[in-house]
Symmetry: C2
DNA sequence: CCTACCGATCGGTAGG
DNA sequence: CCTACCGATCGGTAGG
């Protein structure tokens, strides 16, 4: 094999491990990902699984980054070129609800899961989850601010407050769907988000 | 020792184990509770820890029941004799926020933690979490219904929708406090709940 | 409630 | 990427 082929083969191996880790973590949590089970699932040795990463924590971090990329692709990418402000904000809520009701992650919202799992476990995984949570809230707040400036939301509206409320509703939708298996989870979320955005 | 004394001693042993399990689970999750760590923490043998319960799952269920009792004592008991409808509903929101900002559970809301941890793990723990989540939402919805009947909330308001929104905000407050360490978590939640309850 | 023990699995390493 | 292995820990049991 040429060096080029072996580099790309290594990248494929790595991404296969990450994909399997994302799926395991989505259902049982990032802490429940084990090297042995990944190896069994991928028909590899444990040494082959841990090799490209070094430690289990690095596998967790790689899975988290992949999950963030998948969330971004589902929720943000489809709307990023829409008109900033209320139009893009409403579209973001819709794509977020679609993401939450879809099957990107078999076990439900990866970030919500990781947030509760790691909020009491100091370390780089926790830090990264908190960072992305803050980043995503800023993305929402930015469009809220523009919507206020355009007069689409009442003067004096606090963008961070609205972003907080929308994010909370997303967590509620996730719980309604994943824990309670409520068929009206999307509608509940949609009504709540519309009320927050004064769309009636 | 008389039989009576030994019965009460057994009950004390059991409740000590449950208390330690609640604390471990609050920080790291119910799945991360291990018999060996409980034994070490309580200066007991593993056999002594598992004995009163039989299996780890029974310890998890006992810890969950205790956590539910603690939640109820914090949030519901102080308000249950208030006037049904809007007065009790507002007081419930306040006691809930106080609970979320307090130190009853060192790792944050036990129910939210257990919900994300077990929503993808079939079994009695998951079932009990879902049951209590549904029960608590009905408790909220009951006062919403009365508030609507009394004219304290707009005609046509869907009690289940309002209960869903309040519960979602509670999840948001928990994440803001536990993951993001936001100092304004309580105020964010309070503003959101007041808006949901049309209190302005 | 204890000691002593079971097989299984954990994260990870040595050496190739 | 593999085999073979390390010490630690897992849930749980036998026997007292």
């Amino acid at each position: 094999m040429s060096p080029r082929a072996s580099v790309s083969a290594a990248a494929e191996t790595r991404s296969g491990i990450v994909e399997a880790a994302v799926n395991q973590a989505s259902i049982e949590g990032l802490e429940s990902v084990t090297i042995g089970r990944l190896a069994g699932q991928l028909n590899m040795s444990k040494a082959g699984v841990i090799g490209p990463f070094g430690t289990k924590e690095q596998i967790q971090l790689a899975a988290l980054e992949e999950a963030i990329a998948m969330f971004t692709a589902d929720v943000w990418t489809p709307v990023e070129n829409l008109e900033p402000g209320m139009p893009r904000l409403e579209a973001t809520c819709e794509s977020w609800l679609t993401h939450l009701m879809g099957d990107t992650f078999p076990g439900g919202c990866f970030l919500t899961q990781s947030a509760t799992e790691f909020d009491g476990r100091p370390g780089p995984v926790r830090d990264r989850v908190a960072e992305y949570s803050a980043l995503w809230e800023r993305v929402l707040a930015r469009d809220v601010k523009i919507a206020v400036e355009n007069g689409d939301l009442p003067k004096g509206t606090d963008p961070a407050q609205v972003a907080f409320e929308i994010g909370s509703i997303a967590q509620g939708v996730n719980q309604a769907r994943q824990l309670r298996r409520q068929k009206d989870a999307r509608k509940r979320g949609q009504m709540a988000m519309r009320r927050i955005l004064c769309v009636f």
